[in-house]
Symmetry: C3
Subunit: 206 residues, 3 copies
C-alpha cells in the first residue's frame, strides 16, 4: 500500500461537513422518536462516524476518530445543539436536507481517500457509495425505521454519481479541489431534485 | 502472524463460486421485494462480499476486494443478470439453492483461509461458520426479513459441518484439494437435505 | 501507536467476566425465543465477543479471540449451560442481571484497553461505551427485539459512567486495579438501580 498523500483542503472540509451534518441527522431522528439525550448522542456519533469508520477499516487506514478528541466532540456538540434548539415541526424536513449534504460530502471524500490509499478504481467508487450510505443505514436499523435502501427514491444513486464523478475526474487528472467540488455538487443536486420533486427509479415488476 | 501460503486452486475456485452465488442470492431477494436496479446491485455486493470482508478484518488480512476491480464487477454482473433474466416464479426457489451453494463454499474457504493465516483451530472453525452466514444475515436484516437464525431449519449447522470437516481434515494432514472438496460437498448435502425434506433441529421448550 | 503495556490482572479478570456473562445473556435470549442449540451458540458467541471485536478493530489491536481457542470455548460452554440448566421462569430476570454485569465489565475494560493502545481520552471513553453496548445491540437486532437504545431506561448511561470514571481515574494516575474496581462498581450500581427501581432519563418532547 502506498503511503497516502496529503489530501487537499477542500476534501478535508468535506469530511468535517459530512461528520457534522450526519451527526445532526442522527440526533434529529432521535428527536423524532422522542428519545433521551444519551440516545441523541449515541445516534449522532454512530451516524456521524459510522460510514467513515467502515471505509477506514476496509482500506486499512487508522480509524480517523480514534487518535483525536475533536471528531467525537463535534458529534456530541451536534446532539446537544439539536436537543436544545430544534423545534418539532422543522425536524423531519431538516433531517432530509442534512442527510443530503452528508451523503454528497461523504461519497466524494470517501472515494478520494480510497484512491489516496491506492485502492483500485471500482472499489474506490464502491467505498464512496457504501460509506456515504452506511451511517444512515445503521441509524435507520437501530431506530427500527424502514431502510432508505428499500425505497425507490434516488438516494444510493446520488452517492454513486458523486463517487463515480470523483473517481473519473481524478483518473482524468483534474485538479483535486475542482474534482471534489464538481462531484459533491452533482451528487447533492441529484439528491436535492429527488427530495424536491420525488424523482424515482423504476422498480422490478415481474 | 505467519505469512500466508498460497491457497490451492480448488479453494480459490470455491471463493469465486461463493461470491457469485451469494451475489445472485442478494439480487434475487431484491427481485422478490420489487426493488430498483440500484438496490439489486447494493444487495448483490453486500451479500457477495459481506462475509468475506468480516473474515478478512478479523484475521488481519487485506480485505480481498479492495485492491482489484474484478470482484465487484462479478457482483454487479450478477445483479444485472438477475434484473434482465429472472422470472418471478423461479426466484424464491432459486434463491434457496444459490444460497446453499454459497453457504457451503464460503464456510469451507473461510475456514481454510483462516488456518492459512495461522488462526487457532476453534476460531478458524468459527470464521468459516460466521463468515458463511454473515452475508445472508446482513441481506435479511437490510431487507427486513426474519433472519434465518431464528428458524429451526438446518442452516448454520450445515456451515458448521463444512467448516468443521475442513479444519479436522487439514489438522489430519489431508491433501488440501481433497479436504476442500469433501468439506464443501458434505456441507452442501446437509443443507440440500434440509431444503428438500425440511430437516429441523429440536427447539428449546421449557 | 505505542506498544501496549501489559494490562493488570484485575482488568483481565473483567474481560473474562464480561465475555462469560454476555455469552450467557445471548443464550438466555435464544431460550426466551425458543431457539435451537445452534442458535444458542451463535447468540452466545456474537454477544460474548461482538463488542470486544469492534473495539479491537477500531483501535488496531489483533482481534482478541482469533489466536486462542479458549474464548470461543467459554461462549460455547455458556450456551450449553443455559441449554441444559436454565428454567423458563428465571430466564428473563437473569438475562437482565447478567447483561448488567457484562455492561459494567466491558465498559471498564474497553476504555482501559483503548488507553493502553494510546487512544485519545474522548475516543477511549467512547470505546468503552460503544463496545459495552454493541454486543447486546447486535443480539437484539438479530433477535428482532426493540433495541435497548430506544428505551428511556438508564443503560448506555451506566456504561458511560464506568468508562468515564476509568478514563478520569487513569488520567489522574490512580492505581489501575483501583480505577478498574471503582469504575466497574459504579457502572454496575447505576445499572442495578435502574433495573431495581426503574430509573429513567427524561425524553425529548417537543
Amino acid at each position: 500500500m502506498n503511503p497516502p498523500e496529503i489530501l487537499p483542503d477542500a476534501l478535508v472540509m468535506l469530511d468535517y461537513v459530512g461528520i457534522g451534518v450526519f451527526a445532526v441527522s442522527g440526533a434529529l431522528l432521535a428527536a423524532e422518536k422522542k428519545q433521551t439525550l444519551v440516545t441523541f448522542i449515541f445516534f449522532a456519533v454512530i451516524t456521524g462516524v459510522g460510514g467513515g469508520t467502515l471505509r477506514d477499516l476496509l482500506i486499512g487506514a487508522p480509524v480517523f476518530w480514534v487518535h483525536t478528541n475533536g471528531t467525537l466532540l463535534i458529534c456530541i456538540g451536534a446532539a446537544l445543539g439539536v436537543w436544545f434548539l430544534s423545534k418539532k415541526a422543522a425536524a423531519e424536513r431538516a433531517l432530509l436536507w442534512f442527510d443530503a449534504v452528508g451523503l454528497a460530502s461523504y461519497a466524494t471524500y470517501g472515494a478520494a481517500k480510497a484512491l489516496n490509499y491506492a485502492v483500485a478504481p471500482v472499489p474506490a467508487f464502491a467505498m464512496g457509495v457504501m460509506t456515504a450510505c452506511v451511517g444512515g443505514i445503521i441509524r435507520d436499523v437501530l431506530a427500527g425505521e424502514p431502510s432508505i435502501l428499500l425505497r425507490p427514491e434516488l438516494y444510493v444513486t446520488a452517492a454513486a454519481l458523486a463517487a463515480g464523478l470523483l473517481v473519473i475526474l481524478t483518473l482524468a487528472a483534474a485538479p483535486p479541489a475542482l474534482a471534489a467540488l464538481g462531484a459533491g455538487l452533482a451528487g447533492f443536486s441529484l439528491r436535492a431534485a429527488a427530495i424536491a420533486r420525488g424523482l424515482k427509479l423504476p422498480a422490478y415488476d415481474r
